[in-house]
Amino acid sequence: MSVVTRGTVVIAEERCKGCELCVPACPPRVLAMSERRNAIGARVPDLMPGCTGCGACLLVCPDFCFEVYQYDEAVVHGDAR
């Protein structure tokens, strides 16, 4: 299955507190909590293909962890990057 990705984010994982608010806030549901933990022990989110660069995650994150980008041209992701 291929997924169109129009944007991406940079996540400052070191200050994430694992609150998970970004996960349901993301309209295409491309954020999911991983099992990876940062230095304070919080689980941090993973980004899957399909980001639209809408910035909803940035708005809802209490710890200012997100930087948002929109691609000049959409990228199509297959099963492997």
């Binding site: 991983s34 910035g55 710890d63 041209e73 099963d79």
Partner: protein
Amino acid sequence: MSTRIATDRAPGVAATKTGEFAPSLQLSVDHDLCPGCGEPLALRLVLELIEELGHAHNAICVVGIGCYTALGSSIGVDMIQALHGRAPSLATGAKRMRPATLLFTLQGDGDMVNEGLQEVIHTAARGENVTCVLLNNGVFGETGGHMTATSVLGQRTKNTLEGRDAARHGHPISLAEMLAPLGGAAYVARGSVHDAPNIVRTKNMLRRAFEAQLAGEGFSLVEILTMCPTGWFVPTAKGPGYLDEVIGAVHRIGEIKARTR
């Protein structure tokens, strides 16, 4: 099954950055507020707006006492720390001396609706050209999550462990509705930060409030419902739902008063 995209670096393809980690008027992103707290989300909105309205060179924030007080040192404009409940009177004196400044208060519900209820009512009645921003999470967060005047019936807090009961603890106060009828109040609204669409709507409410102030229309209040999963005894992921279903059912989101321009 999807493979994760690397999020530790800027994109390798041509792209435009459309969102910064934090507003340029935010001095620090390092804070110790609880996971899932809604207050930093409100801070982002006001700091972005000051810049967008071209007032970074002339703005004052008067900060009350609560969890959000810790965010005060991150405010990249002039700031005056007030005592619990007293921000509206400080705002009055400061604005009278600096009428062209964009001046707003940042207060919690314990601060504004408990300790300082008379201050905000009088400031609104006098029609002072200031904007009071009420961060309402229905608890005294900083002392550990105790009942305030806005806590809703049935809400469990540290000192209403069986839930707020009208007979024992009285009824909640919805401040925005109380201020709206006052002649000096030009713009009164209640927003929330429990999801992205509401965050955007709340920013628009703040913008209208600031614009009313800058146009000299009088007092404005923007009440912002914020999540406090710690105070509400819910997991962080359940905070937005609790806000929407429990707090928001009593303190209704919407614009309550606006002068037509």
